[in-house]
């Protein structure tokens, strides 16, 4: 089976037999993006899911439960929020995917759908919301403003993409994305949930933290 891969990468080694954690190496080890974080040598390099245990049937069912009952956090900032609400209401209904209750409190939410333009003034509160959400949590960047700054590319007060301040799992492009587009993004998120992304093995829990900005005197 011929697989397209660049010739300078070696084929994946087989996992070791016997006891010990099974580390399935990830192609991200060779990735450029690891270098800027200094993570080339990191045993769990990259943000891709690395499994330390083989998922059992029970884990699979747990993932299925999580995927089919993702509760979003009400974090509609701007125009995409109206399309998110339109996705949530009768005509395109994400209640059928279990996402009916848009929780007001971040402590009860699973998914943070950042819908709308993120500005520098709002970035602080939004990151605080993200940090308040308990694990497992996922982030969906809805719309082009959250993906890359969008139509406000040169603006002095728009954060050029929400992935500058928090890790994003799914990007849904569009301005605003059609409700069908957002539902497609949610289906992708279901796939990610089932492949156990955003679980504890890929996140370092340091306890209550407070984002520190330079020049912060508080």
């Amino acid at each position: 089976m011929a697989v397209d891969r660049p010739s300078n990468t070696s084929p994946e080694p087989m996992p070791p037999a016997g006891d010990g954690p099974i580390i399935i190496p990830d192609q991200a080890r060779d990735d450029e993006s690891l270098r800027q974080f200094g993570m080339e040598e990191h045993p769990q390099g990259g943000f891709h899911g690395l499994l330390e245990v083989i998922p059992t049937k029970a884990d699979y069912v747990l993932d299925l439960i999580r995927a089919n009952s993702l509760w979003p956090l009400l974090s509609g900032l701007s125009c995409c929020a109206i399309e998110m609400m339109s996705t949530a209401t009768s005509v395109n209904d994400i209640d059928r995917f279990g996402m009916f209750p848009f929780r007001a409190s971040p402590r009860q939410a699973d998914v943070l759908i950042v819908a709308g333009t993120l500005t520098t003034k709002m970035a602080g509160p939004l990151v605080r919301l993200w940090e308040q959400m308990p694990e497992p949590k996922w982030c969906v960047a809805m719309g082009t403003c959250t993906t890359s700054g969008g139509r406000f590319k040169r603006s002095y007060s728009v954060v050029q993409g929400v992935d500058r301040v928090m890790p994003v799992d799914v990007y849904v492009p569009g301005c605003p994305p059609r409700p069908e587009g957002l539902i497609y993004g949610m289906m992708k998120l279901h796939e990610l949930v089932k492949e156990r992304r955003g679980q504890w093995s890929t996140y370092v829990d340091r306890g209550p933290q407070r984002t520190r900005w330079e020049g912060d005197v508080r």
Binding site: P43, R154, W200, D205
Partner: protein
């Protein structure tokens, strides 16, 4: 070929408007302004639907008060109050648009403000709704309204140091190159703390407390470790 012609006149024949010429539209208003405010007719400029008048910043408040309180002028509604920057070395302008039932045109008052010392008397005592307008003008242009009870930034953070709508605040192709870019930490990538991604993870799945071979946690005196859901 008659049957192929469109039944309506061609688009380019719809014509452009006549060039805007002498004050024609608002005769009564112009006369009244000349009387009540002693305006020189040469300083008035009219358009199809607007009469415009320039004043100095210091006189703006009195002019607007007369316009509002006079029975024949009766400009009871402040439609808009905005600021314009004409560049470094030039002036600012605070532009007020007023509406009256008695006159068909909008009235535009352009108050010239010195750019080096931009101070204008506030009109919040005439119209309370001017408060947000003046806060926005202060935030975006740096024009100080004397007598305003609440002159603080409204759009930007309170610790923001620039005035975005000025002409010397440039938005280049790469916003990082502008003179006032990166005032806030989020705008500057070099302030992002990426070291938290470097450190080795000290938590594994399943949590170490639940493993059979987990070491006993040393509890210090007087410390409560009620929550064992994650290592401390």
């Amino acid at each position: 070929m008659e049957h192929l012609r469109r039944p309506w006149p061609a688009a380019h024949a719809l014509g452009r408007r006549r060039a805007l010429t002498a004050p024609v539209a608002a005769g009564a208003l112009v006369r009244l302004l000349a009387e009540r405010l002693e305006v020189d007719l040469r300083h008035l400029w009219t358009d199809e639907d607007t009469v415009e008048y320039q004043v100095d910043a210091a006189r703006a408040h009195d002019v607007l008060r007369t316009l509002r309180d006079d029975e024949d002028l009766a400009f009871f509604m402040l439609a808009d109050a905005g600021a314009v920057d004409y560049g470094t070395g030039e002036r600012f302008e605070v532009v007020y648009h007023l509406f009256s039932w008695k006159h068909p045109s909008w009235l535009r008052i352009r108050a010239r403000v010195d750019r080096a010392d931009p101070r204008v008397p506030t009109i919040t005592d005439l119209w309370e709704g001017a408060m947000f307008h003046e806060r926005e003008m202060y935030d975006m242009m740096g024009i100080v309204f004397e007598g305003n009870r609440d002159l603080r930034r409204i759009y930007m953070s309170p610790d923001y140091r620039s005035f975005p709508h000025r002409k010397d605040f440039v938005l280049p192709d790469d916003a990082a190159d502008s003179a006032a870019a990166g005032v806030l930490p989020l705008e500057r990538p070099e302030t992002w703390d990426l070291t938290r991604f470097n450190q080795a993870p000290d938590v594994t799945f399943p949590p170490s407390d639940l493993r059979e071979d987990a070491p006993a946690e040393a509890v210090e005196d007087g410390e409560t470790l009620g929550d064992k859901s994650r290592p401390r």
